[in-house]
Amino acid sequence: MARCFKEVLNSGKFVITSEIGPPKGTNLEKMLHHIDLLKDKVDAMNVTDHQSSVMRFPSIGGVLAIKERGGEPILQMTCRDRNRLALQAELLFAYTRGIRNVLCLTGDAVPVGDHKMAKGVFDLDSSQLLRTVRQLESGKDLGGNDLDGKVEFCAGAIVTPEADPLEPQLIKFEKKVDSGAEFFQTQAIYDLNNFRRFMDFARRFKVKILAGIILLVSARMAKYMNNNVPGIFVPQALIDELASAPKGTALKKGIEIAGRMIRQIKDEEICDGVHVMAIGKEEVVPDILDVAGI
């Protein structure tokens, strides 16, 4: 049985979390396989909530599956698809089913996804959702009404250390801390010098920081992310390293890069842990951890 994530966070151990992407459809085979593969190798697994605004099996369904299979889940909740009633209701439900960790996100914009004509809700934002969790823990809902049975969550948020411009993102980070975030999982980082500078700032706050590690599978993917994904910067040296890998070995090189980064972050105690995102290649996460020596 997995240990409670909050305990792990506060144990001083180097924390490893990973990410599970639910399927588009009802075939859960691959997702369950990934859960079984990772549940004993990582401290907790996030389940994404219609990532990139693409409609999928819900994150609540994913975290329940993790729970049933003995893993420790982190429920990702975005504010894009539900108003404050629905978000609160889901937090109540999740709590009754043993879910104790929630990652509060604003959510991607609707037009970047696959239901471009949908109404983006954004009744709340990430900081307001964090405070909603704390409000429900106090035994009251957002309307100020008493709850018959309250909740208790370890609540986290995200931050983008490579945001451009960076300062507004740091101010938002501080606001999320003030709103009750206990841990942060960052957007992918690849430049450790930039990340160290971010940590010089983040260390001032009593929160745990898990560095986001997205597996690079090709030089093309790295370039694509640089050009298209907000808040991600892959240094040229890494792109060159991937490009120089012999044909058919780019994935191996990506695993090596991710593992190497994790090892360095851990050895140099740059932050409190890592959040590994393999985006569809979850089966190689154990290999990444092997390279990292974990």
């Binding site: 404050r84 914009a109 934002d125 411009p165 300062e167």
Partner: protein
């Protein structure tokens, strides 16, 4: 000047609206749709020509100076016979104009334009939304730039993670509202305002549909 921004419906959609209509009267507006080139005199005449070519009988047309104004009633009376002869009115004003005409006449009204937002012409042919009338103005804390309108998600507590080089994740040509607010507040030496927490918005400031009585002696102050 702030105005209602509209765009023309595709002509095929207009044709569909007029499927069962033989005789039609066209109404444009001398204000907002004239300035947006969606329902001024040239567009009304172009529509008349197109409909004639499609075999419709255009009983007449007019461009009301300000279609949402109360004088619209008098303006419509001047064309009483031609309007009477039509089975439906094709209206090339914003939706406010369509509703004003509909309130005065018992005729079938068919909109030929879509009303998009309240905004201004920020460049030649470029129209931008400026206020979505949320009822809780926070411009005093945001350097005079409205995140409720200018941020795609309407976020009031700072930027999301979708900013790329100061642009929005939905459009590389769209400025991130929170980058603009940050720059303005920084220049004003008021960056601490970005740390202010805004609780969830009150969407019932004025329950939809908006209707409010403002006594003259109070000037609406509450």
């Amino acid at each position: 000047m702030i105005r209602t921004i509209t765009k023309r419906k595709p002509f095929e959609e207009v044709e569909k609206l007029l499927e069962d209509v033989e005789r039609v009267f066209i109404i444009g507006c001398g204000t907002c749709t004239t300035m947006c080139h969606t329902g001024g005199q040239p567009e009304v005449q172009e529509m008349e020509e197109k409909l004639r070519q499609k075999g419709k009988v255009v009983t007449g047309w007019m461009v009301i100076p300000v279609a949402c104004d109360e004088l619209t009633h008098e303006a419509l009376e001047e064309h009483g016979d031609a309007i009477e002869a039509a089975q439906a009115l094709l209206i090339m004003t914003c939706a406010f104009g369509v509703q004003t005409v509909s309130a005065h006449l018992k005729k079938v009204v068919l909109p030929a334009v879509d009303t998009l937002f309240i905004g201004l012409e920020s460049g030649l042919g470029m129209f931008s939304e400026v206020c979505n009338q949320c009822g809780e103005c926070i411009l005093g804390d945001t350097g005079g730039i409205c995140p409720v309108t200018a941020c795609h998600k309407g976020l009031v507590n700072g930027p999301c993670g979708g900013t790329k080089k100061g642009k929005c994740e939905i459009d590389p040509d769209k400025d991130c509202a929170w980058t603009l607010i940050y720059e303005r507040l920084k220049q004003q030496g008021k960056l601490e305002k970005m740390l202010k927490y805004y609780p969830p918005k009150n969407f019932q400031v004025e329950p939809k549909p908006g209707k409010i009585f403002i006594p003259e002696e109070e000037g609406g102050e509450q």
